[in-house]
Structure formats: C-alpha cells, structure tokens
C-alpha cells in the first residue's frame, strides 16, 4: 500500500466556495466560543443588518450543535462489518463453488488476496489468488485472463504452474498449487542471511526457471522474495507474467494502470531494474536478472543492497557507474554492515549493473557463473562474511532452546516426548524423526495450542515404540513456517520430518500431516487428512497419530504400526492450561505453573500429566509434604500408563529417600521410552545416588546434550553435575576434567560449571592460574540452587585438602573470607550468608570467632539441625566431648519429615570429631539408608577425616556398579 492519496479521485467540488468559508469561519468560531444564549446578540452585532448572512450563520451554528448519527460512532465500530473479512470470504467462497472449496485466507498482498482452497475434483489443496479490487477496477478482466493463459503454458520444476483461472464478483482469479513452505520473504524475515550453499541452490533454481521462461519470450518483471516460494522440492517462482498481464490488460488507460500499479505496490522499487523505473522504456529479460541480483544480495546479507542500490533511487541511473566491484563499494559505504562473501563479488556486480548491457546477459550465463564459484564456496573460510549469519542463527536457536528448557520434565508429562534429543554426530539418519508443531492456518488463535498438542501426541507415540529416534523442536519463532524447517531438521540430524497444517472447514478442523524425507526434501508420505469438530479438536489426535505411525511403519519399521496407546488425549482446554503451565514453568515461574496445572487436571480428570508435573513443581520448590500428598492422590488412580506409573514410582522414591526404588523406577522409565533423554538422565541421577556411578555414566551417555533441552543453563548444570560427580567417585579425574570442560564450552557463564572444572583440577593437582579461575567463579552469576561463592570455595577447599593440597586449600578459604568481608552486609541480613561465614572461619581454624555465629544461627532457627551440629563439632574439637554428645543426642529430636538422612549425617560428623569412629560409621550408613544424596562429597568432608583410614568407611564409598 502506498500513500492513500494516490488512488483517490481528483479533487471534487468544494462544499462551499472557499472565499465564502474563509469569511464565515472566523464568525462561527467567535460565536461558538460564546454561551448559546449570547450568540444571538453577537450575530446581530457582527452581521450589522445583513439578514441573509445572519440567517446563514444562525443555521450553521444550529447545525454545528446537532449530532449526526453517521459520525457519532467511530468508523471501525459503525462499519465493523466491512472489517469482518469472513463476509468477503463468504462471497469468494460462493463465487468459486463448487469447483473450489475455499478454506481460509492465506494472505493479502498489494495485488491479490490468496486463499487456501480444496479442489474436490482432484482432491488436492490449491491456492486461489483473487485480484485486488483496485486492480480489478483498472484492468480489463477478459484481457487479463487471456494474458495469464499465455503463461499457463510454462512448464518447469521451478515455476509455479497455473491450474485454472476465471472471474468471481468482477475480479479475476487464478489457481496454483498450494505450497506450504512459505515465501523467501518469510525465510529472510525469520532467519536473516542464508548460508552461501543454500543461496547458491536457490539462485540456481531461480536462474533455471528464468532461463526456461526467457527462452519462450516470457519476462517475469516482478521477481522478488514475495514471489519465490520455498517448496519441499526447492524454490519455485510464482506469479509469472502477472505483472505483464495486468499492464497489458490496463493498456487502454495507462494512467489507471499506473495508479493501479502504484497502489498495488507492483514493481517493488527495491527489486526494479533502473530501466524499469524509467517511463515508457521497454524492458527485457535483463530486468529479471537485475532483480535476481538484488535477491542474491539479500539472501547473502540479510538485507537488500543499500545506498545507490536501494529502493529505486531514480537519480542513480544518471550517475556514472563506478568501476570498482560492488562489494568494495559497499565496504566503503557501511563498513560495519554485513557484506556478501568475496566469491560473490563479481557475480553481484554484474547482476546489479545499472545499464542492462553491462549485466550478465542471460540466465544461462548466470548458471555458468554460479558453477564457477561453487568450488570456492565448498571450502568455507573461517571468518568469512557467510559465517556470520549462521552464528546469528545459532543464537536464535539458543534462545528458543532456553525458553523451552524448563520443560525438560514436562517431558515426562507427555511421556517422554518433550525428551528432546540430539545426536552429537549429526549424521542425518532416516530413523531419527523430528516432529515439529503443526501450523495453525485456521486464523483462530483459540486453536493455537492444537499444533503443539498434535506434535506432542505423534512424538509421544513414536517414542514409545522404540523403533525410531524421536526429537521434538519448537518452531522457528511464529509466522509462516517451512522456511527454516529444513535447517532445523539438519541441525537435529533428523532424516525424517513430521510437520503439518490445520485449517477450518466450516465447523470442523482439518489437519494435514506431512512426512518429509529431509535428505532430498521430498514428501515421503502424504497423510490422509483427519478432521474433528471445531468444538472438540482433540479428537483429531488419535487418528492422526495412528495414521502417521502407520505411514512410518511402511518406510521405517513395521513395529511402529499398531502400537497400542494408553490413555485417550486430554480435552483441548485442559491441554491448553497444561501447556501454558509448562511455558510458565520454563520461564522459571514454578509457583505460577502450579495453579494452571491444577486447573488442567480439574478440567479433565483423566489427564494425569499435569498432576505428575505438579509433583515435580512442588519438589523444585522444596514443598515435599505437598508433593507427597499429591503422589498419594495420583497413586489412588486405577489406570496409569506404564510410563506414568514409573514416573510416579520415581517421584515416590525421591520423596521418601529410597534410592533403590528410585533407581528401579528410573530404569523402568528407560525401558518404557527407550529413545528419550529424560529417563536416561533420571536413571543416571538415581544410579549416582545409589552408589552406582558406572551405571550413571552409561545412562548419561544416552542423553543428548547439544541442541536438546539439556543444553539450557539449568538443565545442563544438573546433567553435568551428575556426570562429573560420577567420574569423580570412580577416580577418573581426566575424564571428569574433560566432561567439565565440555560443560563449560556449552555453558561458559555459570558459576557452578566453573566449579565443576575446578573440582576436577583439584583432584588432578592442576592448579595453574587458579586465582584467575576463582575470580571468574566469583564474578559469574549465581544459579537459583547453586552455591554462593563462599560455599563453592569451601567445597573446593575440601577437595583440595582431601586430594593433598592443604596449602592451596587455605589459600582458597582465605579468599572466601576476603569475599565475605567485601559482602559483609549479606551476613547481617541472610542466615545462609552468616552460615557461610561461620563455616569459613571454622575451616580456617578460628573456632573462637565461628562458635558465637553458629550459636546465633541456632537461636534464630531452632528447627534447623545444621547449626547445633556445628556447635557440637566445635565443642568436640575444643575438647568438650560431653557437650558435643549432648547436642548430638538433642539432634535426634530435630529429625524432620523428608530429612533424607541430614540429621544422621550431622550426628555422624559429630561422632567422628568426638572420636567415636564406629558410631560415626554406623550413623553414616543410616544417613545413606535414609536417603542422603551427597555421597560423593563424603570422601572430602573434613569433619569425617578421622574416618578416612577406616576400612568400613572405604567400603562405604566403594562403588557398587
């Protein structure tokens, strides 16, 4: 759309003669400023006996005060029916019936409105383009149809064919295949610059299309990203000959045509060759080549060329063309902006030449030039301009993943499907299936969730078969998709992609799934559409899943077919609440997710996932009593899917501190969904707690950590904690260090991850540049449950001491003290900070200073066993054994529900410091049996140092598997 004035009729007759109005207006203004009662006198005075003038003014004043129904309500309200495009859709639908069943509007451009329709004769989806009324007014419809029929003869893989054409309501329409991949414009807007190899492919395809058409004397004249469709088979050039058809059909009235062209945004200036902007110049095929040059530039740099090559600056045509290559010139114009890679320089300069005769002469020649630069592109250089956009792309994905991250457990929810996995060696395997949310083409935001639900349902079904490797991924942010789906599939190393679209067909929702072979981007299976009532759209899910699985069974593995699923899909509203909860959860608002899940469960009492999810929510929040009570409620259900049952057992084991039961249920989850990441992670964690670090490592190796939900900060941290701790407890410190460094590569900005590396280095005695690393650790952001800097420093000192570096340990402790002095106010305000300070002083041997701090903490928090425990430890160390034993005895009474061995562990430390070694060992065994999880820290615990030579202690720490 251009300025509105360009399509208004010429200035009409004025309402009043202007000079008359200019004489009257000041008088009206003056009168209007007066109270109505005083206006008569004013008019008498102002008109000075001119009765006609007075009468006219009086009438006008009267009218000024009168309301007018036509203007009393804002236009958008009064004319709301005009804005209601469903009515227009009805008109178009009626006009095209029965040959085409219009489904929905797909888009609206300057020249036309595009509708998705079904062609019942051929049982296919088509796009119907109806010419914009502005253009319809200005063109001779019959001539237009004649013209586009000429282009209907074009047959080429990369030219969008014309199926049909006709007239509806005075407006010409034409029918083309429906291409779901979106346009190149969508792709550019979404992903910015494209990788050079892809640019080369698209250019080749477009050049071959142009070569074919030009050889038949057809010039496109409106090549632009909006007209390039990205189909599964490659780029397809649409709207061939439409520009010419409109121009010729409007030939009788050139000014009308010009107006129509401007109004419609035809001949988009940025893509118009200089000669196209000049009036009355016959353009030839070289105008298309110029436009292709602009598109090439834009694909490489993410934006059209700037400066003189921008937006059709007509003056540019008169200026001499500088001889230096375009890239050099652009460097000079805007050194900071992205530039096309050097290999492209010559081709771009020649395509974008101002004079047609300086341009590459034909599309065939362009194809030859592209062949010539291909080898250079095949060997990418570090730091080339082409690399930049890809990094941006990764950044975008990282953000998406981060957003999706907290759903790791959600995962569990829909049994494993959100268990996003990733094959590190991304060899595209057909057996690796990527499922993406289906696209909502209904135009109804209330149906938005159905797309995710459909993807989840399919992924869940596939994951349970164990026959294929399933990943799910969020769509590239919003809008039309397809443009980056191929990239996404490649990133995931997926050889097969399941995607789809759903749209409204009267009162039902129709959902079309597509199974695509990523290697050649062809349709592997068209899945027969499924439909359900709009009011209960979830009914499409089970038939959809069955159909997708039946199709994949044909090409992938017969076991996929006929897999019997557990519970039926939840109701749509319930699922929507559930998924909203997941999003909130992912954003870190665990408290906020709980009511949504409760609501979801209330909406559909058979929907168990929100409840399981809530259990994790409560566990995250440390509200174990509520988690426990919810587990009991869920357990009372009669029917639970095997995976859900295992997950519930896992949660029950966690809450009660039963390591063996937790491990058994984690193993059962792995068996239930053998290709999902989350069960493997849970298996690893449970194995570590159950003193089976080797099993933990083996299970952890199945978790995909790159590109999956496990590469978000918090999920990544939890994963690497398990892996490094497992290596640490089997004494494989080189492997531990390697894992910690991988973790740090993935998450360089996390305090906890830096600590993991330092622990490995402490064990190995590699303590070079320790200060620098400690400085980094102190500066990096804290994580919600991660340690404070002093806490991490104390734990590092423990490791250093245990691994034979007592001097470095003291250094680190002094550093902790220094940090606390710099943050003195923290200790005054927060018990945790005071606790850190007291422990640091204690570890440095300053018990005289530490003891009153622990006493203060114990007095302030009488239910917390940790503070009296330290009082007892200090008492024991200072020889007051009887005091220590008395406090230890009192601790028994402090054992709270869900204590998980904490009190027994504290008593074990007191006993150890009091010289009661056998009691200490017995209490440690008890702590572990009660669910104490930090077994891997025991070997370095300074309070347990007296036990280190005890055979029983070593036995306790020896891995069982």
């Amino acid at each position: 759309m251009d300025a509105p004035d360009c399509r208004r009729p010429p200035t009409p007759a004025p309402i009043l003669p202007p000079e008359r109005w200019h004489a009257l207006e000041p008088l009206l203004d003056a009168a209007l400023e007066l109270p109505p009662a005083d206006r008569g006198a004013f008019l008498d005075d102002a008109c000075a006996g001119d009765a006609a003038l007075r009468a006219e003014l009086a009438a006008m004043l009267d009218e000024c005060e009168r309301d007018d129904a036509r203007l009393s309500r804002p236009a958008a309200e009064r004319f709301a029916s005009l804005l209601d495009e469903r009515q227009e859709l009805d008109h178009v639908r009626a006009a095209l019936a029965p040959h085409y069943e219009v489904v929905c509007e797909l888009g609206h451009g300057g020249t036309s409105t595009v509708y998705l329709a079904r062609d019942p004769r051929h049982d296919r989806e088509v796009a119907v383009k109806v010419l914009a009324p502005e253009l319809a007014d200005a063109t001779n419809a019959a001539r237009f149809l004649d013209e586009i029929r000429l282009t209907a003869r074009l047959r080429h893989t990369h030219i969008l064919p014309l199926f049909d054409s006709g007239m509806a309501g005075g407006r010409p329409w034409y029918v083309t295949p429906y291409v779901e991949g979106g346009t190149l414009r969508d792709r550019l807007e979404d992903g910015g610059a494209m990788p050079p190899a892809e640019v080369l492919r698209v250019l080749r395809e477009l050049a071959s299309a142009l070569a074919y058409a030009h050889a038949r004397g057809v010039v496109h004249r409106d090549v632009k990203p909006e007209n390039v469709l990205l189909d599964v088979g490659g780029a397809v050039l649409g709207d061939f000959g439409i520009a010419r058809a409109i121009e010729r059909a409007a030939g009788a009235d050139p000014s009308a045509a010009a107006g129509a062209f401007t109004a419609a945004g035809f001949g988009t200036p940025a893509y118009m060759a200089p000669e196209q902007r000049a009036p009355a110049v016959e353009v030839d095929h070289r105008a298309d080549l110029y436009a292709l040059g602009v598109i090439a530039y834009e694909m490489l740099c993410g934006r059209p060329p700037s400066g003189r090559h921008s937006r059709g600056d007509a003056r540019a045509a008169d200026e001499p063309e500088p001889s230096d290559p375009i890239t050099a010139r652009l460097h000079a114009e805007a050194p900071a902006a992205p530039h096309p890679p050097d290999e492209w320089s010559a081709i771009l300069s020649r395509l974008l030449a101002e004079r047609p005769e300086d341009r590459i002469d034909s599309a065939e020649e362009l194809l030859r030039e592209l062949d010539a630069i291909e080898p250079a592109l095949a060997a990418p250089r570090a730091g080339s301009a082409g690399g930049r956009p890809r990094r941006q792309g990764r950044g975008r994905r990282a953000v998406l993943d981060a957003l999706a991250a907290a759903c790791v457990l959600a995962v569990a929810a829909t049994s494993g499907l959100a268990l996003w996995s990733w094959r590190t060696t991304a060899a595209a395997s057909a057996r690796r299936v990527l499922v993406v949310p289906f696209e909502n083409a209904t135009g109804d935001l209330a149906l938005e969730t159905l797309g995710r639900m459909a993807a989840d349902w399919v992924a869940q079904g596939l994951a349970q078969t164990g026959a294929v490797d399933v990943s799910s991924a969020p769509l590239p942010s919003g809008g039309p998709r397809g443009r980056t789906l191929r990239d996404l599939a490649r990133e995931f190393g997926a050889g097969t992609l399941v995607s789809g679209t759903y749209y409204l067909d009267r009162d039902s929702v129709r959902l079309v799934a597509r199974i695509i072979d990523v290697s050649d981007w062809t349709l592997l299976h068209p899945v027969v559409p499924v439909a359900a009532a709009r009011a209960a759209p979830q009914a499409v899910l089970e038939p959809l899943r069955q159909r997708v699985m039946a199709n994949l069974a044909l090409t992938h593995d017969p076991r996929i077919a006929g897999w019997v699923m557990g519970a039926p899909p939840p109701t749509y509203e319930a699922y929507e609440q559930f998924i909203n909860g997941l999003d909130i959860f992912a954003a870190g608002n665990w408290e906020g997710a709980l009511p949504l899940w409760a609501h979801a469960a209330a909406l559909d009492s058979s929907f168990v996932q929100p409840l399981l999810q809530s259990v994790f929510g409560y566990m995250f929040l440390g509200r174990l009593a509520e988690a426990d009570s919810l587990v009991r409620r869920i357990s009372a259900r009669e029917t639970l899917a095997p995976f859900d049952r295992s997950m519930l057992d896992f949660q029950r084991g966690q809450i009660s501190g039963d390591h063996a039961a937790t491990l058994a249920s984690a193993r059962a989850m792995v068996r239930a969904t053998p290709n999902a990441d989350l069960p493997y992670y849970l298996n690893a964690m449970a194995a570590l707690h159950a003193n089976r670090p080797r099993e933990a490592l083996e299970a952890a190796a199945h978790v995909h950590v790159r590109g999956s939900r496990f590469d978000a900060p918090w999920s990544s941290t939890m994963y690497w904690r398990v892996v490094t701790a497992a290596h640490h407890s089997v004494g494989e410190h080189e492997a531990e260090l390697k894992a910690a460094r991988t973790a740090r590569e993935l998450q360089p900005e996390l305090r906890d991850i830096v600590w993991l590396e330092l622990r490995a280095r402490a064990a190995l005695g590699r303590l070079d540049a320790l200060d620098r690393e400690l400085g980094r650790l102190e500066r990096l952001p804290a994580s919600r449950d991660g340690g404070s800097p002093p806490d991490l420093l104390i734990r590092l000192a423990n490791e250093l001491e245990a691994h034979g570096h007592p001097a470095r340990a003291r250094e680190v402790l002094r550093r902790a003290l220094q940090w606390q002095r710099a943050h003195r106010r923290d200790a005054e305000r927060h018990a945790d900070a005071l606790y850190d300070l007291a422990r640091t002083l204690h570890r440095l041997g300053d018990d005289a200073a530490a003891e009153p701090l622990f006493a203060r903490l114990a007095a302030g928090h009488p239910a917390d066993p940790r503070y009296p425990a330290y009082q007892a430890i200090i008492a024991a160390r200072r020889g007051r054994i009887a005091d220590a034993r008395r406090i230890a005895e009192r601790l028994r009474a402090l054992r709270a529900p869900y204590d998980h061995g904490l009190t027994s562990y504290m008593r074990a430390r007191i006993a150890s410091q009091s010289g009661d070694r056998s009691l200490a060992l017995a209490l440690l065994r008890q702590a572990l049996a009660e669910g104490f999880e930090s077994r891997t820290t025991l070997h370095a615990d300074p309070e347990l140092a007296p036990l280190r030579d005890e055979p029983g202690f070593r036995e306790l720490l020896r891995p069982e598997g």
């Binding site: 203004d29 004319f79 502005e134 309501g169 981060a402 941290t717």
Partner: protein
C-alpha cells in the same frame, strides 16, 4: 533433595535499542502500510475468532483496536513513532485506508453479480449498504479536506482513529477547545456535503 537443581530461567535478552526518531521529512503516509497490516490483523482477530467474540461480546472497539496496535508496534525495532500521538495519527490514516479498501472490495463484489443474495433479513440489507455509506462519507471527507484541511484531519483522527479530543489536540498541536470547535464545524460541513448527495 530436589532431583533437578534450582537454576534461574535465562534472563530475557535486552531489546534492541530503538532507532532515533524519524526526521521531519518522514511522512505519516510512509508509515501507513506497516500499521495497516497490523490493524487489519487485529480487527480480523477481534471479529473473526470465536474466542475474540466471546471476550469482547462480538463488538469492535476502535479505541481498543488502535491501542492494541500501538502496544504491538511501539516496540517494533525497525519502525519508530516520534511519540504516541504520532502513532495514533498514522493509525487513523491506516484505518481510513483499510475501511475504504474493504468498502471498495465489497462494492466490487456486489457489482460483479454472480452472488445474487436473496434475503429478506433487514439487518443483512442494512449492512449491505455499508460499502456505499462509507465511500460516500469518505468522499465527503475529501471535499472537506479541500476546503478546510485541519477540520478533515480532526474528523480522520476522531472518526477513523477513535481518538479522544485530548489525543487529537496533541497530534495536531492545538488546544482541546479548538478540536471541539473544529469537530462541530466539520460535522456541519460534512452533513451538507452528504445531504447534497
């Protein structure tokens, strides 16, 4: 004892900073297409989605429409408005454009025949006059603009943009009282233009 460590959610990245305000040469009209699309999408959503109808009782509020567009577009990094009044002025222009386009499209469909709708439904008949009514109004507004441009701007902002008097005053740089007077005069002149036929 939680199975998963408590890590904070990744902090939202800072928004890209907005470009400096457009220079004075930047015309309102140049910004219209962008707002046009957005307003149309919002209108479609309000009117088209059953959820939308449920939420809003099936009616359309011009003020809500424009405000929603503002919320959506105010943060758009690539477009800038000098300020809210500037945006509202653009939105009014865009809304006028949308309605005129729609009215023309609808009128063309009716002219085209082939869609002989037989109905005795009074409401349907009444609403079928809408394209012509709007086009007549718009033409009257054109005539008003040729006589008294500021009065036409006031009508555009109030009638098409749904702006309040204060907002119009801010957009045009005049007092609220002047806006009130202009509106009264404009209403009178428009009535004359419309009644002339």
């Amino acid at each position: 004892m939680t199975p998963i460590p408590h890590l904070p959610a990744p902090s939202a990245r800072a928004r890209p900073s907005r470009q400096p305000p457009p220079d004075d040469g930047e015309s309102l009209a140049g910004l219209v297409p962008f707002v046009y699309r957005e307003l149309r999408a919002i209108a479609r959503r309000h009117l088209g989605a059953p959820g939308g109808a449920r939420r809003r009782g099936g009616t359309l509020s011009a003020t809500a429409l424009v405000n929603e567009a503002y919320l959506k577009l105010a943060a758009a990094p690539e477009r800038t408005w000098r300020d809210r009044p500037h945006f509202l002025a653009v939105a009014a222009l865009a809304m006028r454009q949308i309605l005129v386009d729609r009215a023309r499209a609808r009128a063309a469909l009716k002219r085209g025949g082939g869609l002989s709708r037989v109905t005795l439904d009074e409401d349907a008949l009444a609403s079928d006059d809408q394209p012509e009514a709007l086009l007549a109004l718009d033409q009257a507004l054109e005539r008003l603009a040729s006589l008294a441009p500021r009065l036409a701007r006031v009508v555009e902002l109030r009638f098409y943009g749904g702006l309040a008097e204060e907002e119009i005053a801010a957009a045009l740089g005049v007092t609220t009282r002047t806006v009130q007077r202009d509106w009264a005069k404009a209403r009178m002149l428009l009535r004359r233009a419309l009644d002339e036929g």
